[in-house]
């Protein structure tokens, strides 16, 4: 079975941060698996996903995505990027553009640069965009401007854009954090279902253990930039989850000084 993501001994610190956001992370995700990245806010989930998407530089270690290594100092070639799709935590949609335009933006990397610049998607591109809209249940919103949509609708547009890209690897950063539980389940089912239907690998960040358990085959716990556990969903136990969300212990003395 081939490997979708291979990470060896990855460490990374944001510029200006004094503690590393990720420390000695190693993991291996085979093609087709749906994996949840579970951890409290600030654990390093967004950082890890952005790194895998080739948007952060200056890391140490080795990363291989869909069989090709990532360069720690340069973005991947444009031709490779559409294979990795990303669902952004804050959607990252073009607010003043229509829904269909935003979903077609996911196709830009699949078109020739000239066609992309001229704004003339092929019939095929349009068909894929419309299918993605329909799959996400927002076909009727195609011509609405994004700034007139609700949070849940935007979330669907963000996912539709990612699906229109036809990625082989889906990275989703808290794709349901803005939704009520019922909607959240629906959207995650949509995302992991669509990935599975296409034979794609999915890695999604979440801070909700119950959702991770329902939609992932495997759960990776991350805390303070380190992998705390990495288990099949059936083996996830309550203690490990509780430990993941335990308050970070204050460094002795600092709290006292802050009060005085």
């Amino acid at each position: 079975m081939s490997t979708a993501i291979q990470i060896d001994d990855l460490s990374f610190a944001h510029t200006g941060a004094d503690v590393p956001a990720l420390e000695r992370v190693s993991l291996n995700i085979p093609t087709g698996e749906s994996v949840a990245l579970l951890g409290p806010s600030g654990a390093g989930k967004t950082t890890l996903l952005a790194l895998l998407d080739g948007r952060l530089f200056g890391w140490c270690g080795q990363i291989s995505i869909l069989g090709a290594p990532l360069d720690p100092d340069h973005p991947p070639m444009c031709a490779r990027r559409p294979d990795t799709g990303f669902v952004f935590q804050e959607f990252a949609l073009v607010e003043r553009s229509a829904v269909l335009r935003n979903v077609l933006n996911g196709r830009l990397g699949r078109m020739s640069p000239l066609r992309a610049l001229m704004g003339s998607p092929t019939k095929h591109d349009l068909e894929i965009a419309r299918t993605a809209l329909a799959d996400c249940g927002i076909a009727d919103l195609a011509n609405r401007r994004v700034d007139s949509l609700s949070g849940g609708q935007r979330q669907r547009v963000a996912i539709a854009r990612c699906l229109a890209q036809e990625p082989r690897l889906v990275l989703a950063d808290e794709p349901v954090s803005n939704l009520d539980p019922a909607r959240a389940g629906e959207i995650l089912a949509l995302l992991t279902g669509a990935a599975q239907a296409r034979g794609a690998t999915a890695l999604f960040a979440s801070h909700q253990p119950d959702l991770a358990r329902r939609f992932a085959q495997r759960i990776i716990g991350i805390r303070c930039g380190r992998i705390a556990f990495d288990v099949p969903t059936s083996e996830l136990n309550e203690d490990a989850t509780a430990e993941l969300y335990r308050e970070v212990e204050p460094i002795p003395g600092i709290g006292l000084r802050a009060v005085s």
Partner: protein, 253 residues
């Protein structure tokens, strides 16, 4: 610290006083002429009345030419400001490039329009052409800076999203940056057009075309009543520009 500030304040007052004294001493302003300036101006204004309404044809011709200069000059400025705005933006180019282009634009802004117009009259001769070139050049200093700021002011997340999807820099400009900056560009361009129209009213004085030419001609030939009519026409145009501007601003707000 206080002593230093006291000294600094004293030195500044001294410098200002010295500058004023120097100007008086060397400006060749005799007290008698200064005294008679008031009555002379009153006399001058008196001779402007009543304004001569027979120059309507010249006013129409001059205003149309001023409008043409402003429109074509603005068009030139927009065409120049697109590449220069991109090259002056942090988002699109490396810091060495945008810093040097921004410095260049600051220099261009520092040169007064009337000076550029005079130089252009020398270079390409009398008429509207030097005016158009001067307006295009001068306005680019400001408009390219505005465009660069519009590019840099957009939210970054959608740009990162398109980059992640495999879109190149120009495609990102078109689909992630442009939709966000379009209203700002429209507003800035209209603002600059208004300034261009206002500023090109006087370009004729140095021979660069437009209605200012007639003011200069009539004043030089002592036809103050005709100069008065043209001045009133300029005044009306400035008010009209302002009114249109207010209306547009309401529309865009």
């Amino acid at each position: 610290m206080m002593a230093f500030r006291g000294f600094g304040g004293f030195a500044t007052s001294g410098l200002i006083a010295a500058a004023i004294l120097w100007s008086f001493a060397t400006a060749d302003v005799e007290l008698s002429r200064l005294m008679s300036a008031g009555p002379r101006i009153a006399d001058f204004l008196g001779r402007m009345f009543p304004p001569d309404p027979t120059v309507m044809a010249e006013i129409k011709k001059g205003s149309a030419e001023t409008l043409r200069i402003a429109i074509l000059g603005s068009l030139g400025a927009v065409v120049l400001s697109v590449p220069f705005g991109i090259l002056a933006s942090e988002t699109m180019v490396s810091s060495a490039v945008f810093r040097s282009i921004r410095t260049l634009l600051a220099f261009i802004r520092a040169i007064p329009l009337i000076l550029v117009a005079m130089l252009m009259v020398g270079a390409v001769g009398l008429g509207p052409l030097p005016g158009i070139i001067a307006v295009a050049f001068h306005a680019t200093g400001m408009l390219a800076k505005f465009y660069a700021e519009a590019i840099d002011g957009v939210s970054r997340a959608p740009i990162a999203a398109l980059e992640s999807a495999g879109a190149g820099p120009l495609v990102r400009l078109r689909y992630a940056i442009w939709p966000q900056m379009a209203p700002v560009v429209a507003r800035d361009t209209i603002f600059r057009f208004e300034l261009n129209l206002r500023e090109s009213l006087i370009l004729g004085i140095v021979g660069a075309g437009g209605i200012g030419f007639y003011i200069q001609t009539y004043v030089r030939s002592f036809q103050y009543d005709k100069a008065a009519s043209v001045t009133i026409a300029v005044f009306v145009m400035v008010i009209a520009i302002e009114a249109i501007n207010v209306a547009l601003r309401r529309r865009f707000a």
